[in-house]
């Protein structure tokens, strides 16, 4: 008889423990999902910033090609340089080709808080007039 009494008395505690475990698992999962979403949102923002940095670097190099017909050259239009955009943002730019060939390739790698996005821009250059035209611009693997 006393055994039956004990069994009926201890039924509440295991039930509460099991329910508590379930609630904890659900709560931890919810917090984990929220943290993951926060990371995703922040990552998206940084990636967007890196892409903007890459565009800024590409535009900067494009403008130098317009200004310096003999680009890349030592003065004014180096073949590789870093454009500082902000405290956490830079664009690493390389310029290859020449007006004599008629095509210049600009590669701009935007870096924001460690996230990197690389753009490749092809510009056509008229070796006589110096007229510069955008031929193509695309994102390439880093």
């Amino acid at each position: 008889m006393s055994v039956n009494n004990r069994e009926s008395g201890i039924a509440t505690l295991p039930t509460i423990l099991i329910l508590s475990a379930i609630i904890i698992v659900v709560a931890v999962a919810a917090v984990g999902i929220a943290a993951s979403l926060a990371t995703t949102a922040n990552s998206q923002r940084i990636a967007s910033q890196a892409l903007s940095d890459a565009k800024a670097g590409s535009d900067d190099a494009f403008m130098r090609v317009i200004r310096y017909k003999n680009c890349p050259a030592t003065i004014g239009c180096p073949s590789a340089y870093t454009l500082t955009i902000g405290p956490n943002d830079v664009a690493n730019v390389t310029i290859k080709g020449s007006a004599a060939v008629g095509v210049i390739t600009i590669t701009s790698e935007g870096v924001s808080l460690g996230r990197r996005v690389k753009l490749q821009t092809i510009v056509g250059v008229d070796s006589t007039t110096g007229l510069v035209n955008l031929e193509s611009s695309k994102q390439i693997p880093d």
């Binding site: 008889m1 006393s2 009494n5 004990r6 008395g9 201890i10 509440t12 505690l13 039930t15 509460i16 423990l17 329910l19 508590s20 609630i23 904890i24 659900v26 709560a27 931890v28 919810a30 917090v31 999902i33 929220a34 943290a35 979403l37 926060a38 995703t40 949102a41 922040n42 998206q44 923002r45 967007s48 910033q49 903007s52 940095d53 565009k55 800024a56 535009d59 900067d60 494009f62 403008m63 130098r64 317009i66 200004r67 310096y68 003065i75 004014g76 340089y81 454009l83 500082t84 955009i85 902000g86 008229d126 007039t129 110096g130 007229l131 510069v132 035209n133 955008l134």
Partner: protein
């Protein structure tokens, strides 16, 4: 029936006696108290975690939208810079000058325009110039609009269906189409999405470069531009009129929390145009100070450096 009642009474008595006489009868109360305590702690923690999760999700959503709005504005500003650099370059500089961009939009209905008249009237009652356009003020030239592809600005809005252009229209139409072109307005734009209110604006700053404004970007104070006579190398830090720093600001309020997002980017003028002259048959003109404002086959000749200032290219003596 009597036997059943008697049996139930007997079992209740037995249960009372069992509980009273059991050595673990007090344990049930302790277990219930412990269970209630555990349940309270766990439930409180879980509710707190879920509230935190809800708030975090709200912040994430706001951050995502803010990122989208920042990208949208930055891309539109690049488009404006590409198509009409002076529209951005001529704005007041500094973070205290706040602007926002009214985007391209077709106004509903058709419009009446009369030859040599600056007045436009709407045919549709659904048109409301007061809500879709902004007229000129002391610091603003008015929204840019296109009427049958011709560009104008809005001088005065005379009512919901009548406005005055900056210049007269050069034709007559009773079915003209009217578009609001990209227009940079002073002030702050308010966007409400998913019960989140965003405030968005941008400001611009000048950029300085070494090599007399053509080399690497510099944060140093501007200096005079000098040319080395032996090498021709340029030295000095000058403002670059073809690059601007654009700062986009976004703040938001979800009702429970506020946030902000500030992004700065460089925008450069990348359009390039070349005019090539190969006909100089007009010959040398005697007065070398003649100003050419349009292509000609004449020329003047001098020696020395080329001196430039905004809108002027001069051969100095």
């Amino acid at each position: 029936m009597g036997r059943l009642t008697s049996e139930i009474g007997r079992r209740i008595d037995w249960l009372r006696n069992s509980i009273r006489n059991s050595p673990s009868s007090g344990q049930s109360l302790m277990e219930i108290l412990i269970s209630i305590t555990i349940a309270t702690i766990v439930t409180s923690a879980a509710v707190g975690a879920l509230l935190l999760t809800t708030a975090s999700n709200s912040r994430n959503r706001a951050t995502e939208l803010a990122t989208q709005y920042q990208q949208e504005l930055m891309n539109n500003l690049r488009s404006v810079a590409e198509s009409n650099w002076s529209q951005i370059y001529n704005l007041n500089k500094g973070t205290g000058s706040m602007y926002y961009l009214a985007t391209f939009q077709q106004l509903p209905g058709t419009f009446n325009v009369t030859f040599n008249s600056p007045t436009i009237t709407a045919n549709s009652t659904s048109t409301n110039f007061n809500t879709s356009l902004v007229a000129a003020t002391s610091g603003y030239a008015g929204d840019n609009i296109l009427i049958n592809s011709l560009p104008f600005t809005v001088s005065v809005i005379n009512g919901t269906s009548t406005l005055t252009l900056n210049t007269s229209y050069s034709g007559t139409s009773t079915t003209a189409l009217l578009y609001r072109n990209f227009s940079i307005r002073t002030g702050v734009e308010t966007i409400t999405t998913n019960k989140i209110t965003f405030s968005r604006w941008f400001s611009i700053q000048n950029i300085f470069r070494d090599t007399c404004g053509t080399g690497a970007i510099s944060t140093a104070t501007a200096t005079a531009c000098t040319v080395a006579t032996s090498t021709g190398n340029l030295t000095g830090i000058l403002q670059d009129p073809s690059t601007l720093q654009v700062t986009v600001n976004i703040t938001w309020s979800t009702g429970q929390a506020q946030g902000s997002y500030v992004v700065s980017q460089n925008i450069s003028r990348t359009s390039d145009q070349v005019i090539r002259f190969n006909d100089w048959s007009g010959g040398l003109i005697a007065n070398s100070s003649t100003v050419f404002t349009q292509p000609t086959n004449q020329y003047s000749s001098t020696t020395g450096s080329i001196v430039t200032s905004p809108g002027v290219l001069q051969l100095s003596q």
